[in-house]
């Protein structure tokens, strides 16, 4: 277990907790339960947590896999700087956010899941991990393979035609490059 980046798992758990909190909140509000105000809080907190946790952070080792369409949220989350980068802050935030969920039944599950996510984030923070955004790299546009290539290349990668490959003694002027040492014909 030595090389696990706990933040990756904490992120999955927190996102799940946000969704559960949101669902519980919707049930509480739509069903007009007693103390539905807590359910309304659950909806708001759930949405906020989902937005915060949707963009995955960059991994220290290995390739980082983005979630679909996470780029806009990455930019927003990145804008908050150290508040979102530091996992101690996230652990504390989730611990605080989960408390009001404990008051009514529909949001209790979301509350407990969020508390667990908070604990895993705390472990991640103690191990010195932090959230870094996954930003698209500036790559050159790859050349599109032409549709006319029907067979894989039979020859190795191309090389210049024979005339330019080597200087010929008869035609020193016509060669493609200049030699520091004079070229002599074979004996």
């Amino acid at each position: 277990m030595g090389k696990i980046e706990w933040a990756m798992w904490a992120n999955e758990q927190a996102l799940a907790a946000g969704l559960i909190l949101l669902t519980g909140g919707i049930v509480g509000v739509a069903g007009q339960f007693r103390d539905w105000e807590f359910a309304a809080y659950g909806v708001a907190a759930g949405v906020f947590i989902c937005f915060l946790e949707y963009p995955r952070g960059m991994r220290n080792k290995g390739t980082s896999v983005e979630r679909t369409g996470q780029y806009c949220l990455t930019v927003c989350v990145k804008a908050f700087g150290p508040v979102t980068r530091n996992y101690y802050v996230r652990a504390g935030l989730h611990a605080a956010l989960c408390v009001p969920g404990a008051f009514i039944l529909p949001t209790v599950l979301g509350c407990v899941c969020l508390a667990i996510a908070s604990i895993i984030y705390l472990v991640a923070a103690i191990r010195g991990e932090q959230w870094l955004p996954i930003l698209p790299k500036k790559t050159e546009k790859r050349v599109e393979m032409g549709k006319s290539i029907a067979y894989p290349p039979q020859n190795p990668p191309p090389r210049p035609p024979p005339e330019l490959r080597r200087k010929r003694a008869e035609d020193l002027e016509g060669a493609a490059y200049v030699n520091p040492i004079a070229v002599t014909a074979n004996e």
Binding site: K3, M8, Q13, T23, V108, A150, P153, Q154
Partner: protein
């Protein structure tokens, strides 16, 4: 168009039957809780009771199913027996992990419905206790106040709240515990976590033990109450319901109704699979205790470790895999590896790529980082479970075979090719397979090294026997560096390939599958061609499409994919 039916038909059928059973159970149990004995329960809860009990039945069914696809020893045994009857049916058992995940998703889905319905149930039961004393709900809730046995409403007083009640009932508490276990199992099984941090996935997955124990205990409290049959004889709801103000009072003909809970039923569904899974783990443990000796350790380039081992009574087929355990690296971890040796050899071997914690630990335990000769007794003790069968076992049942391996995915085919060599060259037994087309896609040149030896010997042997037609192999180098390119161009005219030293020249880039399939189809009209792949999903999809496209009336391409 394609032989879609041949490739996918049985899978679709199994899925449809499974979904059908789910739907049937859901509807059946939904209606079962709308009967007379649940009339009064329904007065308080409405349809929320049915919405909770229907997914509960489906959960019973799916929790029964989920343990079965992961009993790999049982599946291997089944596969061996079924193979004699039907190749297609045997191939279904290769998709056990996919089925396990499908059932898991269904469990999560039904759990969600079940919990949401119970949220409404708790709310309505609480509401009944808090109602004014002129409503039928309130009157119903007071039943059983004296003897605490015949009650309907599990919330016995108005001086509490649903959250408190949930944590103080068996059903509520076990419900929370098993749901948490399920959520933790789910989040740690996400592909990102599973592929990168296998240990977290594996250890957290063992929470399923808590899940099943909690599941069986979940109904012990008998919290779902219906009217008893004796009570129904004396008190018929359709006649007496409106006289709720005067039940049991002198001069009325409606006594107070009595209620009782249903006995817990989940254990009947899951006890069988739990027992089978326990047997499975015992078999694995027994196999791990058998003595395994490492006879040879070879370190290949591109961080590939080869281990040759012996175990008493070990028998394998081509392309099977084993689970390896090294107690000195980790007591609890078992990792799957394809066998690269042939059944005809007297020892078995695996080629392991060093990518993570465990493989690195194994490499060091075998003395890979120490120079020079290692004493035999210094090599670590190993546990081996298996071998288990996968799709490659079917290779020799096809007349024409296409083998496609990407990178390290060539390992099951190493076993097949070695077996081919032994069969044809040494023992000359009659082999059904007449032609093998072998494709190896590789991104780096060093990876050729250990496999090139095998191909070279095969090449030589086939030439001696005049059987050069039997095996046609194509190696594709999909990536190269500038410096390597220079080397290739200089040696381009050489008789043997500059990379592999084989007579068959290495090709560059990726194969044009359309042309390959067309050519093979034209060469072998009227036959079934087995296509076997061990490689990335993207390539699998491309090949599957090619199989469907090129399967016409006279030639059938049947696709098989290895998966871990």
């Amino acid at each position: 168009m394609g032989n879609f039916a041949a490739n996918e038909g049985l899978s679709i059928f199994v899925i449809l039957v499974w979904l059908g059973i789910n739907v049937f159970l859901f509807v059946h149990y939904y209606l079962a809780f709308l009967t007379d004995n649940f009339y009064y329960t329904g007065v308080i809860l409405g349809h929320a009771l049915s919405w909770a009990r229907a997914p509960a039945a489906c959960l019973n069914f799916n929790c029964m199913l989920i343990l079965l696809p992961v009993c790999r020893n049982l599946l291997s045994f089944l596969r061996g027996s079924i193979q004699h009857c039907s190749r297609t049916a045997a191939r279904q058992l290769d998709r056990n992990l996919t089925f396990h995940k499908l059932v898991a998703y269904m469990i999560a889905f039904h759990t969600a419905i079940h919990i949401i319905a119970h949220l409404f149930n708790f709310e309505r039961f609480m509401g009944a206790q808090l109602d004014s004393n002129t409503t039928v709900s309130f009157v119903l809730s007071q039943i059983g106040n004296g003897d605490n046995r015949s009650f309907l409403n599990p919330i016995r007083t108005s001086d509490t709240n649903p959250t408190y009640v949930m944590f103080t009932t068996i059903a509520g508490l076990t419900g929370v515990v098993i749901t948490l276990a399920l959520i933790l199992i789910t989040t740690s099984s996400m592909e990102v976590i599973r592929r990168s941090y296998f240990e977290v996935f594996w250890y957290t997955h063992h929470l399923f033990i808590i899940f099943f124990i909690g599941l069986v205990i979940h109904g012990v409290g008998r919290i779902v109450r219906g009217q008893t049959s004796e009570s129904l004889n004396e008190h018929k709801p359709e006649l007496c319901a409106k006289y709720y103000q005067t039940w049991g009072k002198n001069g009325t003909f409606c006594p107070v109704p009595n209620f009782a809970g249903n006995p817990p039923g989940t254990w009947k569904w899951v006890v069988g699979p739990m027992f089978l899974y326990l047997c499975e783990r015992l078999v694995r443990f027994y196999r791990s205790q058998q003595k395994v000796v490492i006879t040879k350790v070879v370190m290949h380039p591109s961080k590939t470790l080869e281990l040759q081992m012996k175990r008493k009574g070990f028998r394998m087929e081509v392309g099977q895999y084993v689970f390896l355990q090294c107690p000195s690296v980790s007591q609890l971890e078992w990792h799957p590896f394809t066998l690269t040796s042939a059944p005809e050899e007297d020892q078995f071997s695996v080629h392991i790529r060093i990518v993570g914690d465990w493989t690195q630990g194994l490499y060091e335990a075998c003395g890979g980082d120490k120079p020079g000769f290692q004493e035999a007794w210094k090599l670590p003790k190993m546990g081996v479970d298996g071998p288990f069968g996968t799709a490659s076992e079917d290779v020799f049942q096809y007349e024409v075979v296409m083998l496609v391996g990407a990178g390290i995915g060539v390992t099951p085919f190493a076993s097949i090719l070695k077996s081919v060599w032994y069969k044809h060259v040494h023992e000359n037994t009659k082999v059904f397979t007449k032609k093998i087309y072998f494709y190896w896609l590789c991104p780096e040149t060093q990876a050729f090294e250990w496999f090139a030896d095998l191909l070279q010997s095969l090449e030589g042997q086939m030439q001696e026997k005049g059987m050069t037609d039997f095996l046609s192999y194509n190696i594709y180098l999909t990536r190269w560096k500038e410096t390597e390119a220079a080397h290739f161009t200089v040696h381009h005219e050489a008789e043997n390939d500059p990379i592999t030293g084989l007579k068959q020249m290495t090709r560059y880039g990726k194969p044009n599958w359309d042309n390959e399939f067309k050519a093979i189809g034209n060469n072998h009209p009227g036959s079934k061609v087995g296509v076997f792949l061990c490689g990335p999903t993207v390539l699998g999809k491309a090949l599957e499409k090619q199989c469907h496209t090129h399967s016409q009336s006279n030639v059938d391409f049947i696709f098989n994919k290895e998966n871990f």
